[in-house]
């Protein structure tokens, strides 16, 4: 009986958590799409999410492109298909690796920072203070972060696409001895607009999810330093899991065409 009761408790907690998240999301989106907007705050968040993430995103992308070229060479040279490396690198990077890895890196960097900042504001009554100063915390804190995440993650992924392909080029040309111009020609040859666009759509969704998880867990944190720590962990873990599962759903939606 104790076992059944604890299963039920976990299930109820899951349902109420889902409901609370759905309410939070609908209120937050409502405030994000309706004026007034706060351009200063959105700008500050865009710099934080986009510009300051570039070093991390660039490093991730260049090493991913490099290792991808090496690994696919190992496989393809066994049946004389080494010329397909350029295509494999560019398709893997634009469709899959750039958005997912950028999403995961930014989730660790930005999701955690948002949860910690908003969580600290919650436990030190700063969010209550916003309300008493007639400023809606959703409008002031959550909406700018959601918008900035939605806009800036695709920008980061464009950079990651380019740097990732460049990483593959470096290894193919300087280590594996490919002809540079043929490699670049092969890169463009089989690349379609939809490959890049599907990656950018993923990035926008991931950016929204990262900001949403950071804000949601921060906003509902309680109980001082420990609560803020827990909120930070939860923000990163849930954002990462959502990124991976939405990655599959979006891929399938594009694949079905």
């Amino acid at each position: 009986m104790y076992f059944l009761a604890s299963v039920g408790r976990v299930f109820l907690a899951f349902l109420s958590g889902t409901g609370r998240l759905a309410m939070f999301t609908s209120v937050a989106v409502g405030h994000a799409v309706r004026p007034p907007y706060y351009p200063r705050l959105i700008g500050r968040q865009m710099v934080e999410i986009g510009y300051y993430s570039l070093p991390v995103v660039g490093l991730t992308a260049v090493f991913t492109g490099m290792v991808l070229a090496l690994q696919s060479y190992t496989g393809f040279q066994r049946f004389n298909a080494a010329s397909a490396i350029a295509t494999v690198v560019v398709l893997s990077v634009t469709r899959e690796l750039a958005p997912v890895l950028t999403g995961l890196m930014v989730a660790g960097r930005i999701g955690a920072a948002m949860a910690a900042e908003i969580g600290t504001m919650r436990v030190t009554e700063q969010i209550d203070a916003l309300s008493t100063l007639s400023t809606n915390p959703f409008k002031y804190l959550v909406a700018p972060r959601l918008l900035a995440g939605l806009i800036m993650l695709p920008c980061c992924v464009v950079v990651a696409d380019i740097i990732g392909v460049f990483g593959g080029y470096l290894v193919s040309v300087y280590k594996l001895g490919f002809n540079p111009s043929i490699y670049l020609k092969n890169t463009w040859l089989y690349l379609e607009a939809l490959d890049v666009i599907s990656g950018l759509v993923k990035a926008a969704v991931f950016g929204f999810l990262i900001a949403l998880m950071g804000c949601y867990h921060g906003y509902h944190s309680k109980g001082g330093a420990e609560g803020v720590g827990k909120a930070t962990t939860n923000a990163v873990v849930t954002a990462s899991i959502l990124i991976l599962s939405f990655n599959y759903l979006i891929t399938e939606a594009f694949f079905a065409r």
Binding site: T124, Q126, D128, S131, T132, L133, T135
Partner: protein
Amino acid sequence: MNNGQPKISVRGLHKSFGDKVVLDGIDLDIGVAESVVVIGGSGSGKTVLLKNILGLVEPDAGSIKIDGQEVVGLSTSEREAVNRKFGMLFQSAALFDSLTVWENVAFGLTQSAGMPRRQAKEIAIAKLGAVGMGTDVAELSPAELSGGMRKRVGLARAIATEPEIIFFDEPTTGLDPIMSDVINDLIVKCVKDLGATALSITHDMASARKIADRIAMIYKGKIIWAGPTRDIDRSGNPYVDQFIHGRAEGPIKMEILRL
């Protein structure tokens, strides 16, 4: 506009968290330009009462009227309109640490009243002067301030929009006796200057005697005594007597385990 109608009127306010009943039918009237202090022990429901009036917590039952307008169950935007009448000094000051001191003080002016930043900064510096702080602190970050300075900045922020009603949540907690008295004097002066209505909660009797026109005592979620400050020493109420003299023995039993 006003004909003897109380500024704030609370009737039958109930609030529970889970099984724990925190407010059990609070009735409280606060007149225009009156300063009421609610005293009570830790966990007696003082803070929850304040948060209910501010709209930060939704009551289970009861009515709260501000200027005769029912504020329980208002929508978010209607609530924001009511909150424009309010100023609030939080226990920990709750300054925004991403903003400078003057931006904190000017927050209500620039955000909700839409005042240009230059003009708001002038008012902020004037308000900082009113709480005895010089222009040199205006550009500091709140993290660089001491506890007493944070409280004073919080007070400046609470009065910056010239609210009709100001709330003080334990204004002297965590301060030394001299700084406590400075804060008390500032509260009395600011409330009188603005002609504002004030509601404070505290367990510091020196503070309560100084800033209150009227004192109400809350115990186990009910107001058990209310009267003018001068009557507090002859209330004839054993609970009040125990509290103001700070005795461990008496009708109020602290919920601690006796070993």
